[in-house]
């Protein structure tokens, strides 16, 4: 799928900086990626690697100040989302690109009914009449598997469980048949059985509705189960990108390799301790001039401290930003 369908979303050289007391934090550094129609792109990385900030930058959802999207081009349906007017951007948000957030407990407005919150979106983007919007809202709740949907439209968020609230969030995001759905750790705040249900639901909906999905997570297990392609982020940069099988079988970047060893295995001896990656992820006070993983990297060589590695192509849609990996490729 990566090379087949045309890209619906194309991000080039995105750069987001937070202005903080006494300086700047470079949260997103020159991030480029694209998303094919109907594709499910997994984005993984540690906390603070810039996954969420990247996606929020696309739609201008970061509070500004302190956030400042400095550079980049986000091409979606023939327009650059970083340049369009506010009203056009609003039409894209919720209309053409849906967003599901991490914590369903706080992501819904507590004083409005669930029905109102869905209908509000429908009326804003599709200009439906009240009764038509209500019918559509009921359909959506049924679509995401909420029983007795008609009655539940009148309930408030606190009358739903966590998993049900996340279903409501998904219903809101899907309300206007978006081309792209961005799910920012949609299952992190849920317990495991509910997590599995939500993942099943999302897979199902993606097949049914044929939209492209960007799934942000730090759970590689989830990614292995649902993604077509995976993008690994570290220090606000894309360090590796590959089709999902390729990434798990043949990771190129030492960070990806380290990440994969941290997944606990059921078959492993019980006494073995969980593997960790030593050290802390960087907080970038300025744009990176060297590989940001080098301090934690077991394979680091001299050049890693001198230049920031570009993304080297490994063929078949696989690339990685690592000098050592590129050298091995060229030698072999």
């Amino acid at each position: 799928m990566p090379n087949g369908a045309p890209a619906v979303l194309d991000v080039q050289g995105l750069k987001t900086v937070f202005r903080v007391r006494g300086g700047e934090v470079h949260a997103v550094n020159d991030v480029s990626f694209d998303l094919a129609a109907g594709e499910l792109l997994g984005v993984v990385g540690e906390s603070g690697s810039g996954k969420s900030v990247t996606m929020m930058s696309l739609l201008g959802l970061l509070p500004s100040p302190p956030a400042d999207v400095r550079q980049g081009r986000v091409t979606f349906e023939g327009q650059d989302l970083l340049q369009v007017s506010d009203s056009k951007l609003r039409a894209v948000r919720g209309g053409r690109i849906g967003f599901v957030f991490q914590d369903p407990m706080t992501s819904l407005n507590p004083v409005f009914t669930v029905g109102y919150q869905i209908i509000e979106t429908l009326r804003a983007h599709m200009g439906l009449s009240k009764s038509a919007a209500r019918d559509r809202a009921q359909e959506l709740l049924e679509l995401v598997g909420i029983p007795s949907a008609r009655d539940r439209l009148n309930d408030y968020p606190h009358q739903f469980s966590g998993g049900m609230r996340q279903r409501v969030m998904i219903a809101i995001a899907l309300a206007c048949d978006p081309k792209v759905l961005i799910a920012d750790e949609p299952t992190t705040a849920l317990d495991v059985t509910i997590q599995a249900q939500i993942i099943e639901l999302m897979k199902d909906l993606r097949d049914k509705l044929g939209m492209a999905v960007i799934w942000i997570t730090h759970d590689l297990g989830v990614i292995a189960g649902i993604a077509d392609r995976v993008m690994v982020m570290y220090g606000g940069q894309v360090v590796e990108q590959a089709p999902v099988r390729d990434l798990f079988r043949n990771p190129k970047h030492p960070y990806t390799q380290a990440l994969l060893t941290t997944i606990p295995k059921l078959s492993a001896e019980r006494v073995r301790r969980l593997t960790i990656i030593e050290g802390q992820p960087p907080i970038l006070g300025e744009a990176p001039t060297a590989c940001s993983f080098r301090d934690r990297c077991p394979k680091a060589v001299a050049i890693c401290a001198q230049q920031n590695p570009p993304r080297f192509d490994f063929g078949a849609g696989h690339d990685a930003a690592c000098f050592v990996a590129a050298e091995t490729r060229d030698a072999g």
Partner: protein, 335 residues
């Protein structure tokens, strides 16, 4: 909600009876003599007779139930009589002021309009200014507008009305001569000109009091808005493509109003308490001034009745605030 309200109303009856008893005993045990301001030439026996004539010869366990009877039975009966022309009261003794020897409730009825006009209006004006100021201050946190709002609030909190009131009089009445410095209580609004006069004499006391209300409520509003502006659901609303107007004035404001409405409701009884100092400065003879004069003159029935009325209002508005909380916040259910 209805059951809850009825239950709370029933609970407030013993509460109020206890409050009445405490006020009565405090006044009973406090030193002071209603005859103290009588001329010294009146012989002691005569003074004693006058005291007994006021009912002070009786012990408290006689006078307290009598006051309760007068407050809860006789006075409402007079009230009903005067409206429907019935004869329920049947000439029973009403609560009489020691000082003016006229019924306490008649005096209160005369003073209430001034207090409502001046103090009530200042509360309305104060709240109406405070809400937008709080909203904008929070939305544009640390902007020039927010800094100015913070500064004005600080002044409102820290400058007492006996200073700001006099300052306004010096500027607008003495130097500029635009506004009258004394509130004319006898003034009646009949036509446009007299209405304008009423407005002119209200401006300064209303502004002095509104400054204090605004200072307080705008801070509450700002804090509540800031609390909510950072919430996840605000990001959701933006991600749904809602305009900033809808995000702020619908999603955020609706949540932020919940605590602010409670604060506003709890502040209403203080209107009826009058603004003692401000009423003195501008010579508004409202309820605050009435209470002060009654206290100075040991006018026990007047003090007792006024204080108890305030207690009733406070208990009622506490209940109203709680009920409003349930109305505006769907997460709160009392039943």
């Amino acid at each position: 909600m209805l059951t809850y309200t009825i239950r709370r109303l029933l609970i407030s009856i013993p509460t109020l009876l206890l409050i009445a008893f405490v006020i009565f005993m405090l006044l009973e045990l406090a030193p002071g003599d209603p005859m103290a301001s009588m001329p010294l030439t009146i012989p002691a026996e005569v003074k004693q007779q006058m005291r007994e004539a006021l009912g002070l010869g009786e012990p408290w366990w006689v006078r307290f139930p009598l006051w309760l009877k007068q407050f809860f039975i006789v006075e409402p009966a007079y009230w009903i009589d005067s409206i429907f022309g019935t004869d329920l009261a049947a000439g029973q003794q009403r609560i009489i002021s020691f000082q003016s020897r006229s019924p306490v409730f008649d005096t209160i009825a005369q003073r209430l309009p001034q207090t409502i006009w001046v103090v009530g209006m200042s509360y309305v004006v104060g709240v109406l200014i405070a809400l937008p100021v709080g909203i904008i201050s929070a939305y544009r946190q640390y902007s020039v507008f927010d800094q100015a709002g913070t500064f004005v609030s600080m002044i409102g909190f820290s400058v007492p009305p006996f200073f700001s009131g006099v300052l306004l009089i010096v500027i607008f009445s003495v130097s500029l001569g635009w506004l009258p410095s004394i509130y004319d209580t006898t003034h009646q609004v009949r036509d446009w000109d007299s209405f304008v006069f009423q407005l002119r004499q209200m401006v300064m006391p209303v502004m002095v009091l509104a400054l204090q209300t605004t200072a307080q409520i705008s801070r509450y509003m700002r804090a509540a808005m800031l609390d909510n502006l950072g919430q996840d659901y605000v990001r959701t609303a933006r991600a749904k493509g809602m305009s900033e107007r809808v995000v702020v004035l619908k999603h955020v404001l609706r949540n932020s109003m919940i605590p602010v409405i409670t604060v506003i409701a709890l502040g209403i009884p203080s209107i009826f308490g009058g603004a003692i100092i401000t009423e003195q400065i501008f010579k508004v003879n409202g309820l605050g001034q009435l209470l002060i004069i009654a206290l100075q003159g040991n006018d026990i029935p007047m003090v007792m009745t006024l204080t108890f009325l305030f207690a009733v209002l406070i208990v009622m508005f506490n209940l109203i605030a709680d009920v409003l909380y349930g109305v505006f916040d769907p997460r709160i259910r009392y039943d």
